[in-house]
Amino acid sequence: MIMKKLPARVESLHELLTFIRAEAKKLGFSESAIGRIELVAEEALVNVFVHGYAGEQGQVEVHCLVSDDPALTVEVHDTGVAFNPLSLADPDVQSDLTKRKIGGMGVFFIRKMTDRVAYRREGNRNILSMTFLNR
């Protein structure tokens, strides 16, 4: 397992995504698969940046775990308020322009573009675990 810890703010996004991209590349994921991994990771990280610490400063950790699957598991850890993003309802992706809302789209991408996703609370930590199989 390797890990990167940075302040939970948008200025950290590119460094964290570069870190994840490098791990995915080492495992031989295709460019299009890496693009989806980056998208999912951005959505998970931005949730922490925006909501995780309710305006206060905090840290975010990205853990990359490799298994025999072959798969990459990306975990996003924060010590903000306990919150399970997977508890949010999916947006209505069929609604027309007038009724369409943006809320929940990030979590929708996380659900749709991962092979496995799970949330757990360990002590004072929120941990969102997202697994991508290398097909």
Binding site: L39, E42, Q94, R100, I102, F109
Partner: protein, 111 residues
Amino acid sequence: MEIVVANESDVAVFAITGRLDAVSVPQLEEKLSQWFEQPGKKLIFDLEGLDYISSAGLRVFLTTAKKMKAREGKLCMARLRDNVKDVFTISGFIALIPAFDTLGAAKDAVK
């Protein structure tokens, strides 16, 4: 990310290249809010050079589509790459903003 705005008669073309993510979105919002100060009614997003879009980028597209509808204008997109098109398809946004394979077809559509 880079944005080049070209005006051809009454059509504005926003050519967006690079990554449209939570970091770069404010740049696009600023360019768009300047444009919305004018009374223009025809807007095209040329996405030939767009490598990546996240929900932060989609949020700006949705806001723009709603504003264009409010002013009875026409908005469309041209030349989406496959990975960008996937994001629009999964989110259902592909049904909200017309997308065309060529810039010419997009220009015809807003005429």
